[in-house]
Symmetry: C2
Subunit: 562 residues, 2 copies
């Protein structure tokens, strides 16, 4: 078979049904293999957007892929690839590169520095990917493809594959395709028994345990396992920004995001006295941990990572998270470790009923997100862009099966709109019937401007997407940090609601603007919005100095004091 | 004085009047220094666009600058920085990075991989910039700034400056500002005399000499010098794609682009018999040389580079191009080396008068560009994006003082629209009166979609820009190369003429669409178009399989044959 057939069929086997990217002269013949291998081609407006979209796709399906061209294309995408590395997203970046003859002959081709050097860009890619290969030898090309993709899945990080133009149709022995790709499970060591004993001793001694679910639970492939732990123990369970939306948040012992020093007083009081924390998939960036204040005291923490535990600060290696979690679940099944005679009073995320907000009230960040929460339905995908929407969404109660994309660490504004395209497509690819495939984006004006053209891709592929555009006249999150009144935090003044039409949507596409709660309620309850198909867009007008609860409110108050 | 005052005042001294970029939390305090140092802040919609704009600015003024934030911002811009390297554009990329305490403490901050590593992105930047510095020591910060900026100007390549947040306001000894920055001239060696003798011997022996002006004439700062050579010799003078629009093209011995094997037969006949070529600033990429076919035979070539000559294939180093050119001009002043008793008949670029084209004829690439040429005026800036417009513009006669941006080697589609913003601003910054500051963009639909949001920046800064959007339903240049009928060469179907309004332009902004020459003529002669202010936009409808003369026509014919 042909090399590219092997590559694309392997990806298809692993759940990649759609391929994102942008054509370029070094990848055109490669693209001829997309459709014949039952992949949908999604031509994004540019490569950064394509990579963001592939990332959004991968966070839901477990694997995403994109194709770009040498130099110009791959470098445009590299910020998104770096983001996939930072937040552990398995994306396969395929780059069409010049022929082996051009490379070996140091030819002065375009998309180079005209210096005969063809390794510069792969060298840069190596800094932001977990594995790399250049498929220049047909004898080992299939092994190389499998090695790199397996690394992508094992580490849940992006990888990089270069395909020289003259290798695209090379004949390869594709017999390996008959067997599934080998992604090695972590190997348990004899440390497992001792670790289990240690943990159970802590569990037995604990009077006030809790669970903290962080975002690396997803790349660890432990969402189900953690959910089982949460349900088996009935311990109060919190999450982080990165972890929110992974497990079933409708269970009674789930309490939303632990906002550390920025949380409600009563929640801080509870957490202060906790004497044991099961911390799953910790990801301790400043932004994800509310300035490190929600990281639990290491002395009382059992941190579960891919292949190691950290118990009371001591690292125990080679204890695979799946193995130890299964062992714990066995123990919990045999003996109840419910530690609370009376379940403690800890607040939960809540929606504000429409009837509780006067129609004439002007929209503001303090109640907006709680009112918006009424719009959510089970199995929606909700994406909240870095900026005030990312903070706002942190307090929204999520119906069962809702997945949330929330800024964690990379925080590259502009990410969420293309990721919305990728996520919406992932939902459609995953559901045979196409039902329950609603994807909802909450995005600020500044972020929207970064990558707005992907609305065109959403329209072209007829994806079911609702966009809430927060118009607060610029980068409000930056105004909170510094330069509240500075012109550099302004953005150009677009007519946002003309976007769907400009980007090619049907003339009767639903658009609306809300300044008051009355207007917002009418919009949210409009059937064309909630049950419509294709793109829908709502502009929400907010004051430029208004910030949601949490760190931003305090920062803005400080700015106003200055 | 403060470190950032020093940096920005140095840039201002060197002609940077406007600073492009995007705010981010690690550069906000830095941006406080922009306006107080008399720099205009241009907040682009995203960082790639900001870097493209700074590049466009620098190609006209000789220096451009942009500010981005750590990680996410700088990596988004890196493709444009690489393009500046490939095509020798002096751009200063300033990156706001975390504090020294965070870096030294390996803090797990956002915009990192949460691994305490802060050198990864500068390491990537080093592969695409000529010099780099991190300003972590106030004692040497000014020296470092000067070293890096001098390298930028000397090599005409991008450079990279990291400013930790806690260094932004550091006190420095800024006394060096009183002296201009030292950009060392090339040092002539004793080789100069011998080289001059060698060249003059060749000149004396030559019967049929010609001049070839390539694009590195600009970074060599030799535009004036070459123009003088062209006028002093009266030899037939050709250019390349990269070189077109640098010198006065209205002089009688200027004959446009040498298209090598793709040129008109009569021109190929003439060039075949040439026995001496003065080749200024050669840049021998495949794309710039019509697949290497316009590179003159080395045996008859004197190639002038920054500090070396290549005569008949032999390299003579340490012969600065300015020194040897001045010496040649002295010789030419003393003795005429006009070699042509009768000046040879060689065609020139031409416009087709409006009256020569029937109104009802449908627009097509064969005549379109020659008709469009009537629209040009002295001192316009014309930007022709990679794709069919880039090829089309190669045949347009340019009035005096017109600068052309034409695809040479990097060919990153999407570049030209932000570069148009940068170029238009450069023209305004350079002209006190603001007159003659018309900037004209020719761009295809696929390229437009890449970076369309910069129309918003053009509107916000009220720049005088005319956009001709070539709507031919996708990537026609790729259709010529491969996949003529493949869906991957389609793009989303936007309503292009709604762009100005969507991006915030006044309701009465001039827009128009042309399918016939009659419509086009009416538009081009409309005073609102030719003499209007601000943004104007015209959509030109072309067949998706139609290509301009040159290599594309042949490729498309081959595709149709398949």
């Amino acid at each position: 078979m042909k090399l590219t057939d092997y590559l694309f069929q392997r990806l298809h086997q692993l759940g990649v049904k759609s391929m994102h990217g942008v054509p370029g002269d070094f990848n055109l013949t490669l693209l001829d293999y997309v459709q014949p291998n039952n992949l949908l081609w999604v031509g994004n407006a540019n490569e950064l957007n394509a990579a963001y979209a592939a990332d959004g796709y991968a966070r839901l399906t477990g694997l995403g892929a994109l194709v770009t061209t040498f130099g110009v294309g791959e470098l445009s995408a590299i910020n998104a690839i770096a983001g996939a590395y930072a937040e552990r997203v398995p994306v396969v970046h395929i780059v069409g590169i010049p022929t082996r003859a051009q490379i070996n002959g140091r030819a002065l081709v375009h998309h180079t520095f005209c210096d005969g050097e063809f390794g510069r860009f792969s060298d840069m890619a190596a800094r932001v990917t977990a594995a790399q290969t250049r498929l220049h030898d047909a004898r080992v090309a299939c092994d190389e493809i499998d090695r790199v993709i397996a690394t992508c899945m094992r580490e849940s990080r992006p990888v990089y594959i270069e395909v020289p133009v003259d290798m695209v149709g090379a004949e390869v022995d594709g017999s390996a395709l008959k067997s599934p790709i080998t992604v090695h499970d972590a190997i348990p060591s004899q440390n497992v028994d001792a670790a289990l004993e240690k943990i159970l001793a802590k569990v037995k001694a604990a009077k006030k345990p809790m669970i903290l679910i962080d975002g690396e639970t997803r790349p660890m492939d432990m969402i189900k396992g953690v959910e089982n732990i949460m349900k088996a123990t009935n311990w109060p369970t919190f999450t982080t920004c990165f972890g929110k939306g992974l497990v079933d948040e409708t269970v009674a012992n789930f309490h939303g995001i632990n906002m550390g020093a920025f949380d409600l007083q009563e929640r801080q009081e509870f957490i202060k006295d906790v004497d044991l924390v099961f911390s799953y998939g910790p990801h301790n960036s400043w932004t994800n941990t509310h300035a490190y204040t929600s990281i639990p005291n290491p002395e009382i923490t059992v941190a579960f990572q891919d292949t190691k535990l950290i118990i009371g600060g001591d690292i125990i290696r080679d204890v695979p998270v799946k193995v130890i979690t299964d062992r714990l679940l066995e123990s919990f099944a045999a003996e109840s470790f419910n530690k609370y005679d009376t379940y403690p009073t800890i607040s939960r995320d809540y929606a504000i009923p429409y009837s509780d907000v006067p129609d004439k009230d002007i929209l503001a960040q303090d109640r907006l997100w709680h009112v918006m929460a009424n719009f959510l339905r089970p199995n929606d995908v909700l994406l909240a862009e870095t900026g005030t929407p990312g903070y706002g969404a942190r307090e929204m109660p999520l119906p069962k099966g809702v997945r949330l994309f929330n800024p964690a660490t990379w925080l590259s504004i502009g990410y969420m709109l293309p990721a919305t395209q990728g996520a919406a497509l992932a939902r459609r690819d995953q559901s045979a019937s196409g039902e329950d495939a609603r994807t909802i984006l909450l995005i600020g004006d500044g972020s929207f401007q970064m990558t707005a053209q992907e609305l065109g891709t959403i329209v072209a592929h007829n994806l079911d997407v609702v966009v809430f555009l927060i118009n607060n006249a610029g980068y409000t999150i930056e105004r909170c940090i510094h330069g509240r009144e500075q012109a550099y935090n302004d953005v150009a003044d677009w007519r946002y609601l003309e976007a769907p039409k400009f980007f090619g949507a049907k003339e009767d596409t639903f658009t609306a603007r809300a300044k008051t709660y009355g207007e917002l309620k009418t919009i949210l309850q409009d059937k064309r919005m909630s049950d419509g198909k294709g793109l829908r867009m709502v502009e929400i007008m907010l004051d430029k100095d208004d910030a949601p609860r949490g760190p931003l409110v305090g920062l803005m108050a400080k700015q106003k004091g200055n």
